[in-house]
Symmetry: C2
Subunit: 206 residues, 2 copies
Amino acid sequence: MGVGGQTLDEYLESLAAATPTPGGGSVAALCGALSASLTRMVANLAVGKEGYESVQADLKELERSANALQARLLVLMEEDVKAYDSVIAAMRLPKKTEPDRAARVRAMQKAYEWATTVPLDTMHACSEALGLALTAALKGNRNAITDAGVAALVAEAGLRAASLNVRINLAALKDNALRGRVEEQLGKILREADRVGHEVIALVEG
Amino acid sequence: MGVGGQTLDEYLESLAAATPTPGGGSVAALCGALSASLTRMVANLAVGKEGYESVQADLKELERSANALQARLLVLMEEDVKAYDSVIAAMRLPKKTEPDRAARVRAMQKAYEWATTVPLDTMHACSEALGLALTAALKGNRNAITDAGVAALVAEAGLRAASLNVRINLAALKDNALRGRVEEQLGKILREADRVGHEVIALVEG
């Protein structure tokens, strides 16, 4: 059963349990999914409504994109668990002999690389959710503009939450070139999110 | 069935539907619940562990408080829906005669008051979740400190999301004294959250 089939109570209890997964990386992706879902509501509340005739095609496209993004973020919730579990599994590999130790280091590097790229994907997806929240604030039902604001706030929280996981796993990577590329992307996404987040909140408060 | 018995898929689809509830207010309270749940994990991962002997009682108290808070936030998710639905119901009351109109205005004021106090309660609860995330960062399992950081980020997002709902419903209230009191509390909670949020993130990045 996928994570989407879990009840909220079950999911919250699996978070709270004394096991590292699911944890913050899964919550980060869930924030993005909640954002996409709220954006769909703001779009759906204007579909077929008077005063929104000129944006009907945009609203349908917004619903479609947000729906696909929501599904992708649910997959990322599960990927995050798998990637982190692979780090734990690699840590537990035997380290008695020199070849054992070398194999363990390679496995750990591979696992940390995975555990870095999954939250980086979550950051990209949350950044997309933030952009869709902006479209919702601009074109969706104006009575639901605070919901577009909430969509922006949770997308930004998901993005920042994922960035904490990128950073901590990145620190374990020995590949300097990869580290440099990821750090550059991370900084760029955070700056852009800050800009778009402020734009949405200004629209909501205006 | 309570909201906690809904699957994540069901909840996300109910958000996305072309009905105003559940919406941003429900997501705000859920963010607080996710935060409380992550705090419990960070505490639970240090319960009975070497190196945490001196904080065992604190960790158990942290788990207890966060668990109670998580339950309260699930109730607030449902209260938010009921309060907003009562605004819609009041709006639909008859307004043909003068007594009808007066009764409708009174019902709407009562409903808006409820729709203001519920997200204000959510803000208080998220503020409490943020405080517990700080305790988790200080006393919980140090390998899970990014999870305490995520707990802080989602609590803060929930708090800011709830503040958007407080503000929009507050604007409809005619009781100036009540409006003044709520505005004062709102500003205070937001400033305090900003301070505590920065403190947690500084600990995580340190």
